[in-house]
Amino acid sequence: MADLSFEELVKAHYEALYRFALSLARAEADACDLVQQTFYRWATKGGQLRDPARVKAWLFTTLHREFLGQRRHADKFPKLEISTVDEARLTAVSAPPEQQLDGTTVMAALQRLDETYRAPLALFYLENNSYREIAEILEVPIGTVMSRISRGKALLREAVLPKADR
């Protein structure tokens, strides 16, 4: 890992970071900004990391912190993008059987969940992170992660599946 160039680092992680960012930010443009900002931080500060094995966790933690920072700013200066809001509120999730789940539908359902559950679920499903890794990335206790994943999975199932299939 220590020999990884910046370009290789980007190629290794940008897709997973983008999908994580999309689950948090809900809008493609915002997700792209978050990923860019994360790698920008790496480019300028990543060398402070002493343990190369923690690069992935560093990137995800940094992205999550960026998102929280941007959200705090947005809370102070709210901005509604009509197209985004309407789509999120009006598009009902169709009820596909388990075998036919498609990424866009599941991502839309995930994005409708409370932020408390979105981040741990995204990390659980996108990167197959263990609850210990998720706790490290989100900087919360392991018990909290377990609780949020458990509740979040139930809520996501409700959002994706029709009542008859739950």
């Binding site: 890992m1 220590a2 990884l4 910046f6 370009e7 980007v10 190629k11 940008y14 983008y18 999908r19 999309l22 689950s23 792209c32 990923v35 860019q36 790698f39 920008y40 480019a43 300028t44 500060k45 060398g47 402070q48 990391l49 002493r50 190369p52 388990e98 789940l101 498609d102 990424g103 866009t104 539908t105 599941v106 991502m107 995930l110 408390t116 995204a122 659980f124 499903y125 996108l126 197959n128 263990s130 609850y131 210990r132 890794e133 919360v140 206790p141 392991i142 018990g143 909290t144 992660v145 377990m146 609780s147 949020r148 994943i149 458990s150 509740r151 999975k153 996501l156 199932r157 994706v160």
Partner: protein, 292 residues
């Protein structure tokens, strides 16, 4: 371990990851081997997880994103990952020792300044609704639920006092004399200490009582008020410098029984026994519908 506990553990862990090293996970897996219904549930859960993970991992990524990232950072001097350094060179070791000493001194000064600043500028108080919501959502389940397991309230008072927890607890009669007291823990909410006491109730339900200093909250409820938060009924009140939050998946009437001075433990518990399927009741005041 019962089936519900096993399901919770199996839901959050995977056979191949670190969870497999957790003895509780192994215990849950042993239950799967013994219980065909649980095995069927677990197989379905794994299929569901795999389908969901596969679907999310197929979400398309903008094709030019990596190029944009590289372009944006092109003007930056990219900091390389540190290479492991050998300290066999005595000069390097001496320099490293000097650096460590300087860093330690700098850290000590920063800590001192930080504590001084925190002492001179105490943290602003938080909001009651945010606090209540965080307590409900972040309460860890099962084996992580309490740090001290005991039904002895005096032991809990001593433990809390020695762990920077709540002091001067003033508990309503039903709560203070409840045979369902199972333990406590101390947690942190934005740098403020919160104590939690857990009570197991009939019908496999339980309620948690959170206690924090009233000054930690900008709008702590002075008088008893009930509300519905995160699909759970809550009761909040303040007395003796502490603010109390009682919450759990129980009917509102049960919380009311717990907090009425004339009610006995037996009467409160009898309510749950006669109502085996706890159901949330609609809040009774407009205040209860305030958004979080």
């Amino acid at each position: 371990m019962n089936v519900a506990e096993a399901k919770l553990i199996l839901q959050t862990g995977r056979p191949g990851d670190e969870a497999a090293a957790d003895p509780r996970f192994a215990e849950a897996m042993a239950l799967v081997d013994q219980d065909p219904a649980l095995a069927a549930w677990y197989a379905a859960e794994q299929r569901w997880d795999a389908a969901l993970g596969q679907a999310l991992q197929s979400v398309p990524v903008p094709p030019d994103l990596s190029a944009i990232i590289l372009e944006r950072t092109a003007g930056q001097k990219v900091v390389a990952l540190p290479q492991p350094q050998s300290l066999s060179n005595p000069w390097l070791a001496w320099f490293s020792w000097r650096s460590s000493l300087s860093l330690a001194m700098a850290a000590a000064i920063a800590l001192f300044l930080g504590f001084t600043f925190a002492w001179l500028h105490p943290k602003p108080a938080g909001q009651w609704a945010e606090y209540a919501r965080d307590m409900i959502v972040t309460t860890p389940p099962h084996e992580h639920h309490v740090d001290l397991k005991t039904s002895d309230l005096n032991q809990i008072r001593i433990w809390l006092a020695s762990h920077n927890g709540a002091s001067g607890l003033e508990l309503p009669t039903v709560i203070g004399t409840s045979p369902g007291l199972t333990g406590c823990r101390v947690t942190d909410w934005h740098g403020r200490s919160v104590s939690m006491l857990c009570f197991h109730m009939p019908g496999a339900q339980h309620v948690d009582l959170f206690v924090t200093r009233t000054g930690n909250l900008s709008d702590a409820p002075v008088q008893l008020e009930y509300s519905l938060m995160e699909h759970q009924m809550t009761a909040g009140w303040s007395t003796g410098g502490n603010t109390y939050l009682l919450t759990g998946p129980v009917p509102e009437t049960f919380l009311r029984h717990c907090l009425e001075p004339q009610v006995t433990v037996e009467r409160a518990w009898a309510h749950l026994v006669t109502a085996p399927a706890p159901r949330l009741e609609l809040p009774t005041t407009s205040h209860d519908y305030e958004p979080l």
